[in-house]
């Protein structure tokens, strides 16, 4: 095989892997939108908050330590030296469920039957409030997140592909980050679990019923509020997974909340109501932007296509298929 072809395959592979990372964020958006019609602008901040909380538990950080010390003149920083990863993840999950409950009690409950734009605005407020709370609780230093997921280039893949290039060519194997392979495996497990949950459990069926028709679901006795808490808790869990993956890659810091911006073009492509759409959309965006940066980036003086090309793809898609690949077609009857 020629080195150019191998490089092309490598770019596509890396694009697919990046796409999975975007899909992890997009999945949270889709779940909430499907169940409650709310476009949760705070999903990126959820990922940040989950990652901050996880590191906080892992390292035994005292929440709101800065505030407590300032108010009472104390000097508390850590409860304990470290906590096992499993326990820290479990506690973070509990925290995210508690957060979902609080959001339902304080925000959603009071906005039932309001226009979608009101709910959207509420989630914008929620995003900023949660970011502020995260800052107060855990501080804004860059934090190292390590839950034992390996990272770095895959040596196995490098060695397996080095011989594929034509003899004598200057090629040293294909590169894929092991962290991204793990993200793919976790995303697959997540999607399969979600599919099984919604197909084969009573709660899952209730969730689908609410997603299909709120009024009909209410009329057969499904509690809308419990379903909302459940959905927000699940999307909190997905945010935690996304936060772990992104946080492992770059360290946990406040720019993590901006990963939500990467999910927007994914949602436009895949549709706001489709879980497979979030996955396929993510993969398309990932591959598209990597190919654009590497193969046509050089023709642009400003470069850096990687960040904005996804939006170009989304815009083009909007023109031809506004509901996305797998989204429900919006039909307004008069």
């Amino acid at each position: 095989m020629s080195v150019e072809l191998l490089n092309f395959i490598e770019t596509v592979l890396n694009g697919l892997m990046s796409g999975v990372m975007y899909s992890l964020v997009a999945l949270g958006f889709v779940l909430i939108f499907k169940a409650s019609g709310v476009f949760n602008f705070a999903q990126g901040v959820f990922a940040l908050f989950a990652a901050l909380t996880l590191v906080g538990y892992q390292t035994g950080q005292v929440p709101f330590a800065h505030l407590i010390n300032e108010l009472f003149g104390t000097n508390y920083h850590n409860w304990y030296a470290s906590m096992p990863n499993f326990l820290a993840i479990l506690l973070t999950m509990v925290t995210m469920i508690a957060l979902a409950w609080i959001i339902e009690r304080l925000v959603l409950k009071h906005l039932v039957n309001q226009d979608p734009i009101i709910l959207f605005m509420a989630t914008i407020g929620l995003a900023f409030a949660l970011e502020g709370v995260g800052d107060l609780m855990w501080g804004s230093d860059v934090k190292v997140l390590d839950v034992g997921i390996p990272s770095g280039g895959s040596i196995w893949l490098e060695e397996a592909t080095i011989g594929l290039a034509a003899e004598g060519s200057d090629y040293y194997g294909m590169y894929v980050d092991v962290l991204n392979i793990w993200a793919t495996v976790i995303a697959v497990i997540l999607v399969v679990s979600l599919a099984l949950f919604s197909q084969y459990t009573k709660t899952g069926r209730a969730l689908r019923a609410v997603a299909d028709d709120h009024q009909a679901a209410l009329s057969v006795g499904i509690s809308l509020r419990s379903i909302w808490i459940l959905v927000w808790a699940i999307s909190g869990f997905i945010a935690m997974v996304a936060g772990i993956m992104w946080g492992t890659e770059s360290g946990v810091q406040f720019s993590l909340s901006l990963i939500a911006l990467k999910a927007l073009p994914v949602l436009i492509l895949g549709g706001f109501t489709s879980i497979p759409g979030a996955i396929i959309g993510g993969l398309m965006i990932g591959v598209g932007e990597k190919l654009a940066e590497i193969y046509i980036g050089g023709y642009f003086e400003t470069g850096a296509l990687e960040n904005w090309f996804a939006y170009v793809m989304a815009l083009v898609f909007l023109l031809f298929r506004p509901q996305g690949l797998f989204g429900d077609k919006i039909i307004e009857r008069v």
């Binding site: 890396n14 860059v142 850096a304 990687e306």
Partner: protein, 431 residues
């Protein structure tokens, strides 16, 4: 009714008293443009803490500058240019100096501050050609500029290659902003001079995703990578470089890409990463002892005190020290402690931070000496290379402070500043 009147009266009294107190202590106003929130907060906080702790120490230890207390109101910019300009407008009245802490904000403030008669001090950032004091009367960027930085990095690479880098490939990974683009011109000139091939790789804000950039580097296999990054961009770049097994000792960041924040997330992978610096890390300096005694031990530390001695905290100390020194010099020149913004600028232009003076100020061996003159607002142009030891989790200085290629840098500064002077119709000064 009485209670209402009483409350109104009390509120009015509190406002009146607090205004009086503020006026009484607002002798020297050093407004701070900070970013303690947002994507760049992890870097903005330690830097701002360094400033605040130094000002508090001067107020506590010396009773201010020449007896005049320092007032340092903070304005949060979030590293956003627009907000930075608003902060300037809000705080410019009676302000001695502004430290914009962003090249984008600095570019916007240069014409405004020049018109308003307010000093701008962009320490090792901002518009490089502002080093030409003949054109930029109100702007200072000492002790070293980005163009010096670019040529010092190339000088270091030259030394490693026994003076010959012809045919070598050097990549520049840069923040796609006014800051990141600043060294391009110098590197292009140096590539012609030394015969190396320059590869430009911009990364958009915030830089969380750089996979394609590093795939390009893996394919092109440059001999060295330089980085002009900030915030999360640095952490992701260093981690990505380690992931593609790029030799870390061939990866050199500018001084804003060389803090503990940048290397710690990459763990052992960051071992050997280099960056330029113009100040030392650590706490073994007299200034730290004084801050501990007069500020931290009294429970007055800015933030939780956890950044004490880090690279960016120490840089904040250095920046604040230069600003305070300018006021001291101005007071001496004009024979009054109650200086005006115009007098303060005169002080800045006559700063002479010799080794002896640095020692007196508690900064012995902390940074190289430098002097500011009417012609030269860029200082010494000296920077050193530091290298990260991931096992010991500390930066080690591995070179002496060195100069850049002044034959290239000075020519570019003259060209760019003349162009600016022509555009703005500024007559050159300094006789």
């Amino acid at each position: 009714m009485r209670i209402k009147q009483l409350l109104i009266g009390m509120t009015a009294s509190v406002i009146a008293v607090s205004s009086y107190v503020e006026m009484a202590i607002a002798d020297l106003k050093f407004p701070m443009l900070v970013y303690r929130t947002g994507a760049y907060a992890p870097n903005g906080i330690p830097n701002a803490d360094g400033f605040v702790d130094y000002y508090k120490m001067i107020n506590a230890r010396d009773g201010g500058i020449g007896g005049e207390k320092i007032l340092h109101p903070e304005c949060e910019t979030g590293y956003k240019t627009q907000v930075g300009v608003e902060c300037y407008e809000k705080n410019k009245k009676d302000a001695m100096v502004f430290q914009p802490m962003s090249t984008g904000i600095t570019y916007q403030l240069i014409p405004k501050a020049t018109a308003d008669g307010v000093t701008i001090y962009s320490t090792g950032y901002g518009r490089t050609s502002a080093a030409n004091g003949k054109v930029f009367k109100w702007v200072f960027n000492a002790p070293v500029t980005y163009w010096d930085g670019a040529s010092i990095a190339v000088r270091h690479i030259l030394k490693q290659n026994f003076g010959n880098i012809k045919g070598k490939k050097i990549a520049l990974v840069y923040h796609n902003s006014a800051y990141g683009k600043e060294p391009i011109r110098t590197l292009e000139t140096l590539s012609k001079k030394h015969g190396f091939k320059l590869m430009l790789l911009p990364v958009d804000h915030p830089g969380q995703e750089q996979k394609a950039t590093w795939l390009k580097i893996r394919k092109a296999r440059p001999d060295n990578v330089l980085m002009w990054g900030w915030g999360v961009m640095n952490q992701v770049a260093i981690k990505s470089a380690a992931s593609i097994k790029f030799p870390m000792d061939k990866f050199i960041g500018i001084w804003w890409s060389g803090s503990e924040n940048d290397v710690l997330p990459a763990g052992q992978g960051a071992h050997g990463y280099k960056s330029l610096t113009f100040n030392a890390p650590g706490t073994n300096y007299q200034v730290h002892a004084d801050i501990k005694k007069f500020v931290h031990d009294k429970g007055e530390a800015s933030g939780d005190g956890s950044h004490f001695g880090t690279v960016l905290y120490n840089r904040g100390l250095f920046q604040a020290m230069v600003q305070v020194e300018a006021a001291t010099v101005a007071q001496k020149i004009h024979g009054t402690s109650k200086i005006t913004p115009a007098m303060y600028r005169d002080g800045f232009e006559n700063i002479n931070l010799s080794a002896k003076r640095l020692e007196e100020l508690g900064f012995k061996d902390f940074a190289p000496p430098f002097k500011i003159t009417c012609e030269n607002h860029g200082g010494s142009g000296l920077a050193a290379v530091q290298q990260w030891d991931a096992k010991a989790k500390k930066w080690n200085m591995i070179t002496e402070y060195m100069y850049g290629d002044s034959s290239v840098v000075q020519k570019l500064i003259a060209e760019d500043s003349s162009k600016y002077a022509a555009e703005q119709k500024i007559a050159e000064r300094c006789g």
